[in-house]
Symmetry: C2
Subunit: 221 residues, 2 copies
């Protein structure tokens, strides 16, 4: 069997991790960059970890796109479509393109927002409508069957919450512990409600795959 | 210590689950509805599970909002702000308001979309730019340090992917298994990229809380 070939478009942290990783697994990898010259030192560095039947070359985006029938798009989200243009759309006909990109906007500093979408939430609208209330987003990412006395075979994860008032979030955690939760994971001020609310369409789709509506997301490391 | 009092605005599945759950935990609960009369049978049904020091009453949204210094908003997302108006904004001054609502749009059937936000993604734009490629959203919800040969103390979760082509997703799963992943969780066609991409701002915030960037989300049940 011939060695599998893959093109990696992008030479940042993601492109380097995948380029060296596929080569370590014996793939013939072509990493593409706007400026391939800057990758020569990196290519020499990873040479030692490449599997016997693997290899790493560097070149242009077009070189990477044309390299095999599998490609990875690993550039900044804001640069994704430009990278496709530079690579040449014809080079992707029939290609399995693994798209790693995210439309993240770092212009406001960390943590990032989305370049499009994710600019509003009910949590924010509710806090705005009730400026004298302490709104805490809560319970919106779990099934109603699990809201009180939750039971998860793999252990109950902390509840994702957010809100502007620290005392209110502390009291929310006390309440949740009383209801059987191990605690909360506080993901920020009420603006973060846009992220907790955006989790729910994914939650529905995952439940469909798992054939349950009593699941929840847990951050693991 | 006096019994904690909580108002629950909304009498659907979420409102009933939380209303009966808080009462089971000894809280004095007032469930509010546009039409309190329809809740009398439910109130009688849950009576047997209420703790000795707990209670459940039913009334209007305003009754629920004024009942204690903790309230839960548990109505449909599209009805959330109307419910606050019906309850009277003054009734929420100083209140801890637990906001369970989600801006879900079921007008297109299941699974739901968001009423605002979540209407676009890089995955869709990339597939649209490359109609002859088979785009699979992949790797975008994990750290580059975990993309190849992942190591999670709590077990490596399946990779969330989506895309329009079943064969391409099958091949993606084969590739991921080769790279050390247990498999994939296929959350739908390329339109679901909007949900996988929207997960990333939350991923960043959760990483900040956990003091790591090598975490991932796992669906647990």
């Amino acid at each position: 069997m011939s060695t599998d070939r893959i093109g990696v478009l992008g030479s940042g942290d993601v492109g380097r991790a995948l380029g060296s990783g596929f080569a370590r697994h014996g793939w013939d990898v072509a990493v593409g960059s706007r400026d391939p010259g800057k990758l020569h030192d990196w290519r020499d560095d990873v040479g030692g970890s490449v599997a016997d039947d693997g290899s790493v070359s560097v070149g242009s985006f077009a070189d990477a796109a044309a390299h095999g029938d599998v490609a990875v798009l690993a550039v900044r989200g804001a640069a994704a479509l430009d990278a496709l243009d530079l690579a040449g759309h014809d080079n992707f006909a029939g290609t399995l393109l693994l798209d790693t990109t995210n439309p993240l906007d770092f212009s406001g500093g960390m943590p990032p927002h989305l370049l499009f979408g994710g600019t509003d939430s009910l949590g924010e609208r509710i806090q705005s409508a009730l400026p004298d209330a302490h709104v805490v987003k809560c319970f919106n990412t779990v099934s109603n069957a699990q809201m009180v006395d939750p039971e998860f075979e793999e252990g109950t994860p902390p509840m994702f919450i957010c809100g502007d008032d620290a005392d209110a979030k502390g009291r929310t955690e006390d309440i949740l512990v009383e209801l059987g939760w191990p605690g909360t994971m506080d993901v920020g001020d009420i603006e973060s409600a846009r992220h907790l609310e955006a989790l729910v369409p994914l939650w529905v789709r995952v439940g469909s795959v798992m054939d349950t509506s009593e699941h929840a997301f847990k951050a693991v490391q």
